[in-house]
């Protein structure tokens, strides 16, 4: 996507990202690992650039699909481990080697 003349004269920290910058930071953005300012600049670019928007959509779908493969932690395993942890805390389980 071409940068508008108005964006060319904005400080780098405030103008939307370029396609190249989005390529660098998109994964961080999708993983919520990007700082607020960069995140805002990237989101502004995605609103205007169809190609990058589609790229983001693809990776987002991949992320969601992978998250859906997460096996639900069976409640009984968590309950057993929690009870075990509570017994350790109360000194009712051997913890020495």
């Amino acid at each position: 996507m071409k940068m508008s003349w108005r964006d060319r004269f904005r400080p780098t920290g405030r103008r939307p990202m370029t396609c190249e910058e989005v390529g660098t930071w998109l994964q961080h953005y999708l993983d919520h690992e990007l700082d607020g300012r960069r995140s805002g600049r990237l989101a502004a670019h995605l609103e205007d650039c169809k190609r990058c928007g589609l790229e983001a959509e693809t990776y987002e779908r991949i992320k969601h699909s992978l998250a859906d493969t997460r096996p639900a932690s069976p409640d009984d395993a968590i309950t057993r481990l929690r009870e075990f942890g509570e017994r350790i805390a109360r000194g009712e389980e051997p913890v020495q080697t």
Binding site: I62, L81, A89, G91, V95
Partner: protein, 189 residues
């Protein structure tokens, strides 16, 4: 001490502060630990055993814990416990501390039924994940499946966060390429 106040042989007396620290910082992380343990062991029973051992080690070290970043601290203990358990079970894995490179092939052939377009997309992603090389698959499993941050994943794997990012980027790129080849990546009309 047992509930009657008598000392139980082999068990250590606990101070109130140890107990409070353990309950405050460790017990709330059990679910995340179990998720990560599943990713490391690929087996529910082994994962539960691994978390139990991690809880014991965490309790032994709780007085030295500074109260900062409990999840990262616990994930480091969990990872070291996993490596030690593998070494005890299979000494030949000393050169392969994660001890799972062979297990990759077991799931590479996993077949996934696809009953709809969405299921086809998901199935393609599962296949792509199974076919990734071990270091790449492991990062995707920890970030996307177990839901860890880059820093937490770096703790579990014992690698720099930059390595996590580059592996993740490449792994997702490969998954995306596979979707493209299968004609399943979203396209502009």
């Amino acid at each position: 001490m047992n509930r009657a106040g008598r000392r139980v042989p082999g068990r250590v007396p606990t101070s109130a502060s140890s107990q409070a620290l353990f309950e405050q910082h460790v017990l709330p992380e059990i679910e995340v630990m179990l998720r990560v343990a599943r990713s490391l062991t690929r087996n529910d029973a082994d994962a539960e055993d691994l978390v139990q051992d991690t809880l014991i080690r965490a309790f032994r070290a709780i007085d030295r814990f500074d109260g900062q970043h409990p999840r990262a601290w616990l994930l480091t203990i969990l990872r070291n416990t996993h490596i030690n358990r593998n070494r005890r079970r299979r000494p030949e894995l000393l050169r392969d501390p994660d001890g799972t490179s062979r297990e990759l092939h077991d799931i590479a052939s996993a077949d996934v039924a696809d009953a709809s377009i969405d299921a086809g997309f998901d199935a393609e992603i599962e296949r792509a994940l199974a076919e990734l090389d071990e270091p790449f698959r492991r990062v995707v499993e920890l970030v996307d499946v177990a839901g860890l941050s880059y820093a937490e994943t770096a703790e579990v794997l014992g690698v720099p966060a930059g390595t996590v990012m580059s592996r993740l980027h490449r792994a997702r790129g490969r998954i995306r390429d596979r979707l493209d080849r299968a004609g399943l990546a979203p396209r502009s009309h």
